[in-house]
């Protein structure tokens, strides 16, 4: 899942990007509000992590513009200010959650997963499609009751396919969700990951729609 991080502190931004990467997210990091607004216009993000004290365009201004434009992407605010008034202001401007610095990376990842789940109308933290189970928080996948070892990329790819089960996803769409900017993507990377997933799970689980993309049917074998 691809996230946008808008944070001007170099050390914090770097750590959040690396940490959320470890948690299976693809994170794009921009350092000011204007760049954040631009990124949100061009890329479909699963969620946004927003610092408030930003150069050029403050976090709250960016949030206001985002909501005014009808963008419903989940937004989590990161800030050093913890007064109730500050939190209320942030939430009332359209933020979905709030974390005060210093925070725990695991909590940040969990809150982001919860936000994304809620935004997609998926109440259960563990997704099940047929015999396939994916626990995003625990980073675990099992098939027919057996645990399956997946690389972070394979996990992210399967996560995307399961989120959008029953829909065809193009190679570009999948790349966008599992790779952040600046990450090197081999031209056949998605094909390679799909190949590995099929081998580790079941060859016919992921269907290829030639010339369009890939599909994980809502009901396998249908």
């Amino acid at each position: 899942m691809r996230l946008l991080l808008v944070e001007d502190d170099p050390l914090l931004g770097d750590g959040v990007q690396a940490g959320l990467g470890q948690a299976g997210f693809a994170v794009d990091w921009v350092r000011d509000g204007v760049a954040g607004e631009l990124a949100l216009k061009t890329e479909p993000y699963a969620a946004v992590i927003l610092d408030l004290g930003l150069p050029r365009l403050t976090g709250l201004e960016l949030l206001g513009r985002l909501r005014a434009a009808g963008n419903a992407v989940p937004v989590l605010i990161l800030t050093a200010r913890d007064a109730i008034a500050d939190r209320v202001k942030g939430l009332d401007r359209g933020a979905d959650d709030y974390l005060v610095k210093p925070f725990d990376l695991n909590e940040l990842a969990a809150r982001l997963r919860a936000l994304i789940r809620r935004a997609r109308g998926e109440p259960a933290p563990v997704m099940r499609i047929g015999a396939l189970e994916l626990d995003a928080a625990a980073h675990r996948v099992s098939f027919q009751g057996r645990p399956v070892e997946l690389s972070p990329r394979e996990f992210a790819l399967l996560n995307e396919l399961m989120w959008h089960a029953g829909r065809v996803l193009s190679r570009e769409q999948l790349e966008r969700q599992i790779y952040a900017w600046g990450e090197e993507v081999e031209s056949n990377a998605i094909e390679v990951h799909i190949h590995h997933l099929r081998r580790k799970l079941q060859p016919e689980l992921i269907r290829t729609i030639r010339g369009v993309g890939y599909l994980l049917p809502r009901e396998p074998y249908d």
């Binding site: 502190d9 170099p10 690396a18 940490g19």
Partner: protein
């Protein structure tokens, strides 16, 4: 233990002074009345003596001629019948002397010897230890000498009585007056008592203005001064609180970065990933330490703490030392540090604070300059002042930003630099302490930023 200072009571002092003044005025009045009464009584009784003598002379003159020579001398006349008219009449005596030597006639209460040696007019004499006032009348040889006398005691009694009557009301009025003054002063001082109670009752957090609606003219300025003091204390407390809150918030971001980087290191699956995160933890610690150091520097510079030992310093030598110290930092960014050569530049100040000032200015210039530029220091000793300027070739500051940078924790956002946001606040405080001025403008050719600090020329030693 030091002795508590002796306090005086306004009430007691007022009471004492008012009573003393009233008593003094009264006593002066009594003294003047006494002297006036004495004079009047003397004049009146003297006139009475003279008149008595004249009456006697007229009466005796007749009889004297009717008498024969050789009659027994010293005939006594009982004056009782004549002088029953007044309580003081008894005190008046007379003697009639033939040729001044032979007592012809005298009143019963008169002494035997002559009342006075003097033969004409008023005189004072002493008989049997009593003072007498005597009037002598003698028309000349062959005529009888008439002397009328009166004890001084009479006059003393009259004047004494008058004086007593004047003094009595004072003795009665004084205690009453004291009570009235006490009550009046207590009442007048009540606003002070109320004020004192108001201040005693409030807790140390309460710095709201005192109510001064009922304060009299004399107390109102005190209340106003107190309220102004409260306002100042409140402002400085608010400032302090804001600073503490700001400082806490400013520490949160570096702490968050530290925690996140540490967690990344924990969860890292490769060595290079872990090493990178741990390196970042160290950078983060240095950054937090720098922020803490700057906070402490600023706290030490808080108003009311004059900075340490003052001495004559050579600003140029201090600048050279600072550049040497910061050279490694500049080298990493390939920034060239320059100090224009010139004569020593003496200023009066605290060398430690001046070093901090220089370090902050040069550090800022290096931090906000792109790589491979020049940071130039110029020290110019002039006749009345010493100017120090630090010029960089960085992005400079928009004019509207130049006022804001003096605020604590103000950072030029988007500069990509992680300064404490306190450097220029520290510079400002140090220049204030040295009564120097600091200003910002464009660098050479309208590029970069120039910070100019102007010190006063030191007094000749």
């Amino acid at each position: 233990m030091t002795k508590p200072p002796r306090r005086f009571s306004v009430k007691r002092r007022l009471l004492f002074m008012l009573l003393a003044a009233v008593t003094a005025a009264w006593l002066i009045t009594v003294l003047m009345s006494y002297r006036d009464a004495r004079r009047q009584v003397d004049a009146l009784l003297d006139a009475h003596l003279a008149q008595s003598a004249a009456l006697l002379a007229a009466q005796v003159g007749e009889e004297f001629h009717e008498r024969d020579e050789g009659e027994e001398e010293g005939e006594e006349i009982d004056a009782d019948d004549l002088t029953h008219l007044h309580q003081y009449s008894r005190q008046v005596v007379f003697q009639i002397w033939q040729d001044g030597r032979q007592l012809l006639l005298h009143s019963a209460n008169a002494p035997r010897e002559r009342l006075a040696a003097q033969e004409k007019g008023f005189s004072d004499a002493v008989h049997d230890g009593e003072r007498w006032r005597v009037f002598s009348l003698w028309s000349g040889a062959g005529r009888p000498l008439i002397q009328v006398g009166e004890r001084h005691e009479v006059r003393d009694r009259i004047v004494g009585s008058i004086t007593r009557h004047l003094l009595q009301p004072l003795l009665i009025a004084l205690p009453g007056l004291a009570v009235l003054i006490w009550l009046g002063v207590t009442r007048a001082l009540k606003p002070l008592t109320v004020l004192s109670a108001q201040i005693t009752q409030r807790d140390s957090e309460n710095l709201t203005p005192l109510e001064a609606t009922e304060a009299p003219v004399e107390v109102a300025p005190l209340v106003e001064s107190l309220n102004r003091l409260f306002a100042r204390v409140r402002a400085s407390l608010d400032d302090e609180r804001r600073f503490t809150a700001d400082a806490a918030h400013e520490l949160r971001t570096p702490l968050a970065a530290l925690k996140v980087q540490a967690q990344v290191a924990q969860a890292a699956t490769t060595d290079s990933e872990r090493r990178r995160a741990l390196d970042n933890v160290i950078v983060g610690c240095d950054r937090a330490a720098h922020l803490v150091e700057q906070l402490l520097t600023l706290a030490r510079l808080e108003p009311g703490r004059p900075g340490g030992h003052w001495q004559r310093c050579d600003l140029r030598a201090l600048a050279a030392a600072t550049l040497a110290e910061l050279a490694p930092l500049a080298l990493r960014k390939h920034i060239e540090l320059e100090l224009d050569p010139g004569p020593p530049a003496p200023v009066d100040g605290n060398p430690d604070l001046l070093r901090i000032l220089l370090r902050n200015l040069v550090d800022n210039a290096v931090r906000y300059s792109p790589n491979s530029r020049v940071v130039r220091l110029v020290v110019t000793p002039e006749r009345t002042r010493v100017a120090l300027s630090v010029t960089d070739q960085g992005p400079g500051l928009a004019p509207e930003e130049r006022e804001k940078v003096w605020r604590r924790f103000y950072r030029i956002l988007g500069s990509g630099e992680t300064g404490s946001g306190l450097g220029l606040s520290i510079v400002k405080r140090i220049t204030d302490v040295h009564q120097a001025t600091v200003s910002l403008d464009e660098g050479d050719h309208g590029q970069g930023l120039r910070v100019t600090v102007i010190f006063r020329h030191p007094e000749p030693a």
